[in-house]
């Protein structure tokens, strides 16, 4: 997203901050949509399976995705799509930022490659209070937006930082798997 929302494309730091705020709001509302869907699914499923049973199923799914993070060749239905880049050519940058934020906030419309995203959305309905759920969705949206801090000093696209290397990928996959498994443990323990 740093290639789309950065000071160079926005035309200055102030406008970039506005576009980042639009992205943050979009991501938050996208997350709220997924939260609503997750709550509805749990409310329906609760009629057939006790809540603790649903939590155990959720934890099992999280563990499956975490093993995938660690390189175990398990099938995982990630959606291999990206945001519609053509929108950048036809809509104002602020609207594009909000739409892209919304799509990424929903979480499952585009490719995501780590288990924590699935883990968080599976755990959301079991948090017990609406303010806590909203806080977690807001933190998720904030995490999405903090990525843009990496391009804060970019004055042209040539200055967008490149972080990737094999060590980075390994650390990220191990960290996400560890946090996801901890969340799965907490889910079974709490629900």
């Amino acid at each position: 997203m740093g290639m789309t929302i950065n000071p160079a494309v926005s035309g200055g730091r102030r406008r970039w901050l506005g576009h980042s705020a639009a992205f943050l709001l979009g991501a938050f509302f996208g997350g709220l949509l997924t939260l609503t869907g997750a709550l509805a699914v749990v409310a329906l499923a609760d009629r057939a399976v006790p809540l603790h049973g649903l939590a155990v199923l959720g934890a099992a799914a999280i563990a499956w995705a975490a093993l995938h993070d660690l390189g175990v060749p398990l099938p995982l239905p990630y959606r291999k799509r990206q945001v519609p880049e053509w929108l950048r050519e036809v809509l104002p940058q602020s609207v594009v930022a909000a739409i892209f934020g919304g799509m990424l906030g929903i979480g499952f419309l585009t490719l995501f490659t780590y288990s924590t995203q699935l883990a968080v959305f599976l755990a959301l309905p079991f948090l017990g209070s609406v303010p806590t759920m909203l806080g977690v969705v807001a933190t998720f949206a904030l995490g999405k937006t903090l990525v843009l801090a990496g391009v804060a000093r970019a004055r042209s696209l040539d200055e967008i930082p490149v972080y990737w290397n094999a060590t980075g990928v390994g650390v990220l996959r191990t960290a996400t798997a560890a946090v996801s498994l901890t969340l799965a443990w907490s889910l079974v323990h709490t629900a």
């Binding site: 995501f112 998720f140 903090l146 996400t176 901890t182």
Partner: protein, 64 residues
């Protein structure tokens, strides 16, 4: 793609980005934070979920 500003002539250090926004360090830091929270508060969902949410939001942007 729109492009404005000054092109090229970027030092390799700048191109690598700052440590403060390095995804590897953020991921490692968040997992350490999560472990610390669990150590002190126990495996409570309301404690672990926010840290996981931060990492979920952050990490999903870094697809190799």
């Amino acid at each position: 793609m729109l492009e404005t500003g000054r092109p090229a002539a970027v030092s390799p250090a700048r191109r690598r980005g700052s440590l403060a926004t390095d995804p590897m360090l953020i991921a490692a830091g968040t997992s350490l934070l999560t472990a610390t929270l669990v150590l002190f508060a126990g495996p409570k969902l309301a404690v672990v979920a926010p840290a996981a949410a931060l990492l979920a939001g952050w990490s999903s942007a870094w697809s190799p």
